[in-house]
Symmetry: C2
Subunit: 409 residues, 2 copies
């Protein structure tokens, strides 16, 4: 590899936003790749993202052994600690000053679109002050909602978890028949909820209904849907995104929480806190009981599970495809950063053809920052209550394969 | 193998109660073992347990291919369908009459202690009427609360799931610090909640607090415990059994549900329905926020997850040890049934010594029926808010090994 464009100095890496099962693969990808460049003096890990940079809370990462690194790579959630801070101009100025103080010339930031935006601002400030800083955003999010990239590291593992959970739970609901609601993470986009359908073998398999934020949700339509499926099969398994919205665009979970007198939390990015509560699932279960349990069906068994944080941090069940790709985006970020005075984000591409094959390319920070990619309409059925085969073709390879299911009837 | 004591006739197998990840291993163990006995004409699978017998809803299981059987073995939840029916005398009489009609001489019933009791009643009725019937109960329950047996098939897989979930979630809570409550299944016994602690490497790892039904729970003590841990570590991960009881012995979840106006469901065995709702976790999270979030700690991040049915039915993550043993108890039931005019339950034994090794023995139906085995006091710490190393020694081998965790600080 030519080192002609490598600038002397130190490097900082940070992790941001909600954890994933493979966010440390990307960290390790950067650590192992950057160690090959003698021009880079120290690689500093920032504790808890931008906050750790501002407060100069660094962990030296250059001398970690292979064994330690591989153990970290397999561990879910940000090993450096994460942060939900949304840096303003002054905060970014502080970051840049810390970089100057420590002669930091490379900055790698693993995160979602908010993190890409932070990276963009710091990068522009460095440019404006004539300080050579190579800034790379490394994508991660279970939400799969970043633009440019074909899919996001972290999504495949979360999709594998959700699909496997629905496969086993569908057998559970067959075994003790009733109506089962499973609430899946995903504030603005239905990518992860859609993954609930990936293990389906035929029309009788659950989930029988899938509700995503991209299709307006009505209680009336919901009850009609459930009634139809339950009447036909004697059971009904339902996937509901925590972020479903009513016809007016208001999140159903927020309206509910307010009605029940819960305080609705918002993070520093203005995002409403939807996870870590069973309110939506419990409400929908009670609603089904009251609408269908008294009149049409006696002794109706209705249950709700809210999958919660397990979807992003469950240990020992990551997608092998996702692990590999998350490692690669870390390596690629280093490779791109060493190619010249440049900045950007790493995007995954997909080769055309029947066999799944991933590639990598450099994207612009501004194209990734603050943009959210919704589930395209072609992945949602006409009725707005299920997912199409086109989605399955897209997402199944990312899970690295799903469990075997055998049936007797 | 001597076939001197094998009686000619057909066999019935059924599955009962809450599913596990390996309940079909036991089913397949019976199917493959019994096929070696030419004296057994047909092996009939009862759809949905005792109900399927009463209604003569049978699936022929004798001619299933190896590949099909192995796929079924890997599939969570009862492949024949399960049942929560609690047969009374008349119901058992009906069962016996169906057996006589179909010349059934072998009855295998996979289930918990209620199922062992049903098996016992049917067995006594057959004896009383002079009809030779060999009845075997095959243990299964994620609750691990059956007597005689060292542990229950199904528990190891559920324990593996819970331990892995806590390991990943602990890293999540480290990464975005706060207080996290995870509600674990287990109505009367804390075995599964105790498994939350199996992945701990040191004192700083979560879960930092573990509450089981065997130790009385007080809100005051709870808040003091949480305050202490959070003050020391800046985070606190908590395992709470869904079945925790207050000082008067009343389940906290039931008291809450009644207070909130929810209808409290009971099954035909009189068991209160605790799962499939996030009420307990949400209440405890709100309580911490109101007690600690306003006064002592600003912007306190508190979240609750209720693990729900995933614990018993998640696909693709069963314990290999549990799978093997669940297969073996099915095989052993056939072996014992063929040894003479006998009846009973299959129990797992554990060889003394440092290396885990399981054995099997025949137990009496009456010793297993209706008895619940609680977590011994030696597995709970003095303060009643954590689990001891003795439990770890007991339970860790059953999980088949836990994921690798690597840390940077």
């Amino acid at each position: 590899m030519t080192k002609a464009n490598v600038i002397k100095g130190n490097a900082v890496i940070g992790q941001s936003g909600g954890p994933t099962a493979v966010i440390n693969e990307s960290l390790v990808g950067v650590v192992e790749s950057i160690s090959r460049f003698a021009e880079v003096g120290k690689l500093l890990g920032a504790r808890h993202g931008v906050r750790g940079i501002k407060e100069e809370q660094f962990i030296p990462l250059s001398r970690l052994g292979k064994r330690k690194l591989e153990a970290v790579a397999l561990t879910p959630a940000a090993a450096l600690g994460s942060s939900r801070d949304k840096p303003d101009e002054a905060y970014c100025e502080d970051i840049l000053n810390v970089f100057k103080k420590h002669d930091v010339r490379y900055f790698f930031y693993i995160g979602g679109n908010d993190s890409a935006d932070t990276a963009r601002i710091v990068n522009e400030m460095a440019d404006a002050s004539g300080y050579e800083l190579r800034v790379f955003h490394i994508p991660k999010t279970i939400d799969n909602d970043l633009s440019v990239t074909d899919h996001c590291p972290g999504y495949g593992s979360a999709a594998r978890f959700v699909a496997s959970a629905f496969m086993g739970d569908d057998r559970d609901v067959m075994s003790l028949p009733g109506i089962k609601i499973n609430v899946v993470m995903g504030r603005n986009a239905g990518w992860l909820t859609a993954a609930s359908s990936l293990g389906r073998q035929d029309e009788n398999d659950g989930p029988h209904l899938v509700y995503v934020p991209e299709a307006a949700f009505s209680l009336k339509g919901f009850i009609d849907d459930v009634d139809k499926i339950y009447g036909r099969l004697g059971r009904c398994q339902i996937a509901v995104s925590e972020g479903i919205v009513d016809e007016s665009g208001q999140p159903v979970a927020v309206a509910l929480a307010e009605k029940l007198g819960h305080r609705v939390e918002r993070d520093s990015h203005g995002n409403v806190q939807l996870s870590g509560s069973g309110v939506l699932g419990d409400f929908l279960a009670d609603y089904i009981k009251s609408e269908l349990g008294k009149s049409r069906y006696q002794k109706l068994r209705v249950r709700a599970d809210t999958f919660g944080y397990l979807q992003r941090s469950f240990a020992g069940y990551a997608s092998p495809v996702d692990q590999r790709e998350a490692r690669m985006v870390g390596r690629k970020a280093v490779e791109y950063a060493m190619a010249g005075n440049t900045d950007g984000s790493v995007a995954i591409t997909r080769a055309k053809g029947k066999t799944y094959r991933a590639g990598y390319k450099q994207a612009k920070l501004a194209d990734v920052a603050r943009v959210t990619k919704e589930l395209p309409r072609s992945y949602i059925n006409k009725a707005g209550n299920h997912i199409t085969d086109a989605f399955r073709t897209y997402a199944l390879p990312l899970t690295g394969g799903l469990p075997t299911i055998g049936k007797l009837f």
